[in-house]
Symmetry: C2
Subunit: 200 residues, 2 copies
């Protein structure tokens, strides 16, 4: 059985990770989203094991202690994390898994899972990034300037990834990520079994 | 200016390198074939600088001495080689170059140009490889057995490449190589300029 690929899509705030990943999932039904665990309460319609694994605070902290997360973070008093064992099981079954995650989380995943495929989404330009951040229309000038500064810093982290994809058009970004998946499945390290069979 | 990619497509005898490379060139007009140099005489219709660079024996040997070939070999008394400088010039212009070459040649290219993208074509199975070798209908049983044995040995070399593509259908093999090219252009090492611009 061929091992699945862990595809990590990440990027600075405002680069459109979510939109690209949703379009990617629609175009590749065989790809599975990584399901996060969280201690926050389910919102209306959210199902355990579908949207999130909903855990009690004590369960989550026990899993942290046991090294059960690929990465985790506490945000506004709630824990969020990527359960390691579930991902390992599905990868072993040959399932490709998509993990959409912020840059801090991605750096942690790189440490624990360097064989993952790390894709960094870039905005077409800083002007466009600013337009997108402003476009939400919900933030003050100060907050926009702070977010833009943070985004510039985050972009530098992209150098540590395997691939960069410029998100100037969602369809184009999705096509490039699809090509990356095809190519990664062709990598020699993914195909050692073929040689074993042919050399018998 | 973004550097072009040197795409090396290689594989054991009988895996269909030529057919796949011709189909690839047709589907990607922006890709350029590497033009070999040779000391053999031009055949009818062959043009210097198009089919081959036709060189005199002394010229070729002088270029060998000067390290002017990415790889070269002598076959039935004629020299064949890949001129290094021409390739470097075109890569620097951002031109992707396709080099279709046997496994021995590819190993030499790996040494001189490790940043190349090395794609190994595999036959779908040894049975199919045998069928293809037999299919030419021009060889004795002894010659077929020898070629098949050599092909099995050659297949092992594939582990040194970056990618393997199984040539069970030409269109599928071409699609996979196209995806590899897209992915390689997305590699972080190919896109350092983007970061420089965005971080200014």
């Amino acid at each position: 059985m061929k091992q699945g690929l862990l595809i990590v899509v990440s990027g600075a705030s405002g680069t459109g990770k979510g939109t690209v990943c949703n379009a990617l999932m629609e175009s590749l039904p065989e790809l599975a989203y990584s399901i996060s665990a969280t201690t926050r309460s389910p919102r209306k319609g959210e199902q355990d094991g579908v949207n999130y694994y909903f855990l009690a605070r004590e369960e989550f902290e026990k899993m942290i202690e046991e090294g059960g997360f690929l990465e985790w973070a506490e945000v506004y008093g709630n824990y969020y994390g990527t359960p390691l064992k579930k991902i390992q099981e599905r990868l072993a079954e040959g399932q490709d898994i998509l993990l959409e995650i912020d840059t801090q989380g991605a750096l942690k995943v790189m440490e624990k899972c360097p064989e993952g495929v790390f894709i960094f989404l870039l905005p077409p330009s800083l002007e466009e990034l600013e337009r997108r951040i402003r476009g939400r229309g919900t933030e003050t000038e100060e907050s926009i300037a702070r977010r833009l500064g943070a985004a510039k810093e985050e972009i530098g982290v992209g150098r540590k990834y395997n691939y960069v994809v410029v998100n100037d058009r969602v369809e184009k970004a999705v096509e490039q990520i699809q090509a990356i998946l095809v190519a990664e499945h062709c990598r020699v390290e993914q195909n050692t079994k073929i040689f074993e069979v042919l050399e018998k």
